[in-house]
Symmetry: C2
Subunit: 342 residues, 2 copies
Amino acid sequence: MTRLVLCAGTTRTAEIDGISAAGADADLMAHTPSADGEILTYGRPVRAPVVPVSPTGCPTPAVVTRAVVERLGVETTVVDAGLAEPTGAPTVTVGARPGEDIRERDPVPSAPGAFVAAREFGRKLPDDELYLAETVPGGTTTALGVLTALGEADVLGDGAVSSSLPENPLELKRRVVGEALEASALAPGDAAGRPTVALRRVGDPALAVVCGLATGALETDTAVTLAGGTQLVAAAACLRHGGYDRSLSLATTSFVAEDPAIDLDRAAAALDLSVTVTDPGFTDEHPAMAAFEAGEAKEGVGMGGALALAERTGLPMGDVREGLLEVYGRLFEGTDREAPKP
Amino acid sequence: MTRLVLCAGTTRTAEIDGISAAGADADLMAHTPSADGEILTYGRPVRAPVVPVSPTGCPTPAVVTRAVVERLGVETTVVDAGLAEPTGAPTVTVGARPGEDIRERDPVPSAPGAFVAAREFGRKLPDDELYLAETVPGGTTTALGVLTALGEADVLGDGAVSSSLPENPLELKRRVVGEALEASALAPGDAAGRPTVALRRVGDPALAVVCGLATGALETDTAVTLAGGTQLVAAAACLRHGGYDRSLSLATTSFVAEDPAIDLDRAAAALDLSVTVTDPGFTDEHPAMAAFEAGEAKEGVGMGGALALAERTGLPMGDVREGLLEVYGRLFEGTDREAPKP
């Protein structure tokens, strides 16, 4: 059996102006992972008081993942990987707390404990196969922080990570990471071989939980697919620095693979990643799809993994697109916002 | 769509010697609801360090419910309705805390708040139909407490509730309830029309959450089936005392319906309950089934509701029995206990 596990958390790094698009309004961004858990579980927001759709009409990638799991009957589990706002999604507790801005000295003190608890949980899950996904606004910046601390800043190209914004604020991210390393008195590479140090000092709790789950699952011979973009590449780097030396799988979207800011092949070679890229065949005919085509969002909530599962089981991409529009419509029901129409 | 919601909680009332069979060993009883959530979610215990099987081989009713939901693909959600021990099941939070022994003065101070949060959650769930279930060792005693405080002690017969033990310790339960009322300075009937007072003073957190969920769901015209035995009758009484006056549905097992200690027809008439009783056709050929036949467990974790769903969708009871033995076998995997064989 296959289970998709969503590690949903927060880092106050996302509050830095210009860092993240995950949440149209910065004040509401902290609700996005809580809403993503609900959309994945129930197919719509339940408790979270937000419609996670950007001003241009780009929905959270959770709608794509939900459309797929709903059609394939894939089991899903949400882990509280540092949520800051209530969620109506049922969550597994591993002791993760919301992350502070990585420019603080010790922004994720819960990372080592959450890693251990997630690892133990990953060892005990009864599934044959896990798809591990994340939702954490600001997560590509913390991913760059972790890669840099491990001495792997250039694994995706020169200090590169992807972005949920069409205009990737890479210079800003590098500056934030530089300040973060300074605040933790770390030089690039100082955390090599010590992934939990990197996760605690310049990372985020969701990434720590992904790494713990993967470690525990791999130890018990459960197949693992890292379902996501550059944040999951950072998870792969953590697994390598933790000593795991067998092949790793990553499944992501064509939007990440085609992102000119990063070189995914380079990361695949450097980290021995078997990469599956799936193109959902979005068109410009509906704002929800056009926004992805324009480079918004790109990945998250296991979208690339869900698309890979759809491809593997022969679910036509036309059905996925239809499902996306159906779930998208539900996001607006009972709210005062109107769904953008083609 | 149908969702089975399990309200999993604890009350220290269960620690009173001779009250409950839910947990072979009193020290491990607090783990039973946590294990039930895991069995319902994953088909086996994950984190809970117990095998919820009595010395005679009687498993938790969770194995029957899981066997059905696994075959029918019914969605399940576990609500933390006052768990005292960690669970690997994902849980929804409504602010419920473990209940104290009802002989204390204010044993469930979290009941009113949890009722309100569960009601709000019940209003927002997107399903067409909810089956509401409980797992709370000691729960029939607190149910008797609630019924008595509402002035409904005789709704199931003279101060009667069912039991997970073949020999129902009714005298002990009545004595405990008498002491509980005294500790809260309540006379029988003093909480009439005030169900949250009854739930807080002489009830348990799981019953409070069931009542909140039912109230919210019914307010938004979601169909509700109370999936259980006399504890769910107590929930129905709370809904009546809360002013709900349309018909209510209850689905339970033949083991409850045939329990000579109680008169389910009387409760159905008094509370206007439409009752569905389902007989799983257990035989003596395997200890796991023979124990139910001998009157152990009887109900819990939505077993009667799951059986009703199986009946309604045409799943043969032979498949349910096969599923029960399959899930039962999994409980012992990786432990030092051996599954009793026919």
